[in-house]
Amino acid sequence: MDAFLATPLGVLALTVAQTMALLVPLLLGVAYLTWAERKVLGAMQMRKGPNVVGIFGLLQPFADALKMLMKETIIPSGASRTLFIMAPMVTFILAMLGWAVIPVNDGWAIADINVGILYLFAISSLGVYGIIIAGWASNSKYAFLGALRSAAQMVSYEVSMGFVIVTVLLCVGSLNLTEIVRAQENMWFMFPLFPMFIIMFISALAETNRAPFDLPEGESELVAGFFVEYSSMSFALFFLGEYANMILMSALITILFLGGWYGPFGLLPALGPLWFILKICFCLFVFVWVRATFPRYRYDQLMRLGWKVFLPFSLVWLVLTAFVLKIFGWLPGGV
């Protein structure tokens, strides 16, 4: 068996098996996130949410998927066909790609690469392409406006997110995601870097185009923004891509600030993956909670928040962190 796994074919088979072991639960998670969001929103608005298909509406995601599959895919005349079809695929594939480096438990990452955090940052910054391409290829002014908004929004919030990540990296001394989690064995970074945690969370909301920053969709003024013209499975891919991105961002926040697979106070270290999933679920719950609570931002307020509040604040906090680490001699590597 070991001899087989050492051959190129064996490596390939192992990688495919690992990928499946990650992606299948992930896709189920995405399906049930759509259900959970509707349930939670329902509870917060004193409704019942989906409760007809299956017990507690548990089969609702599958009913939705079936409905989407049965619909006709409409490609508007005047659309750029190739790009129009490519855009939802790009969104969905990128949402899946990031998971290659996520360590679910100590050593449980499919690709434990040295620059894991940069890879994740790169993948999340590419998410904007699916949206821009969709908006442009649709040949519709609503879609186009949505795409432009999203491009400016995602580029703006990446900057402050970059500073947050650099601050965490200063405390860790490594770009490897496993190392980042290991550095939090005794103290989750959420506590010493609490303001950065908040900035990271809000930037993640903006980065995934979630309420209150869902201006690219903006149904009150742009109908549905960048995916106005999409129907059937291509729409479903956008929809699932958004939820997969939410889970990816929650995983990133969990790794950077919530101590990954470590339980609180070192509780039950054997349950690593479970702690990881629980923390992701907590982040996702807050995502939904925010959506139920806050009205949508105005576009200039959004830009102001990104550039005039978050950027200076995270920059100052970064310098402050560096000073504190240097003065107390806490810099990793003992420099």
Binding site: I113, N114, S125
Partner: protein, 226 residues
């Protein structure tokens, strides 16, 4: 073997997409091909063992610069037939410039010599135990820190220059001044009103009200909305 195949694949796609950037009729397609070219360059970096550079290339160029490119190209409705108009006339000049650059490259390549130890390094580009992120950091921030800071300063000056050139502070332009809005007084007042007093008694003028319009005759159609 696999690395060689991957190299030729990425290199071929890189060159093909670079050609497509120049030859595409649609500027948006050009930018998308440019992004594909960036990706393949990043893949080549990865194959060479420079994973930090690969990721930075994707983050900076694909994630930010190309997005803004795409943004601008989509916003400007460039009429490319007008741009191509003088193509025939300017082709010789362009060709001459290209030829000069090409000749220079050939001269440089002809006089290129490898250092004595370079052959060994080429076979093993990563020193054992060296981390590529750490090494780049050491070179940039320790060995050449002043030059690095200087280049940053030059960029800062360029940025300020661009802002100064484009900053328009015309009094005609309407822009939001949040401080002014917040401190604004007088247009909306709170008044203490005697209970039961009409507006006329308080001296507040209202536009004269015409006789109320006669209620519209509601037509009843057969069947209907309840």
């Amino acid at each position: 073997m696999i690395a060689a195949i991957a190299f030729y694949l990425f290199a071929a796609v890189l060159i093909a997409s670079a050609v497509m950037v120049v030859t595409s009729r649609n500027p948006v397609h050009s930018v998308l091909f440019l992004i594909l070219a960036f990706f393949n360059a990043a893949a080549l970096f990865l194959l060479a063992g420079a994973e930090f550079l690969a990721m930075i290339l994707v983050i900076v160029y694909v994630g930010a610069v190309a997005v803004l490119f795409l943004f601008v190209v989509m916003m400007l409705d460039v009429d490319f037939s007008a741009v191509r108009e003088g193509f025939q006339r300017y082709a010789p000049i362009g060709g001459a410039v290209g030829l000069v650059l090409f000749a220079e490259l050939i001269f440089v390549f002809g006089s290129w010599t490898f250092a004595d130890d370079a052959a060994g390094l080429r076979l093993n580009p990563m020193m054992p135990g060296a981390d590529n992120t750490r090494e780049i950091g050491r070179i940039l921030y320790t060995d050449y820190v002043w030059l690095f800071q200087l280049s940053g300063l030059i960029l800062l000056v360029a940025m300020i220059g661009a802002i100064v050139l484009t900053l328009r502070n015309k009094p005609v332009a309407k822009r939001q001044d949040i401080g002014k809005q917040v401190s604004r007084m007088g247009s909306v007042n709170l008044r203490q009103v005697r209970s039961g007093a009409g507006l006329a008694e308080l001296g507040i003028e209202r536009p004269p009200v015409d006789a109320p319009p006669a209620p519209k005759q509601v037509e009843h159609h057969g069947g209907g909305h309840h």
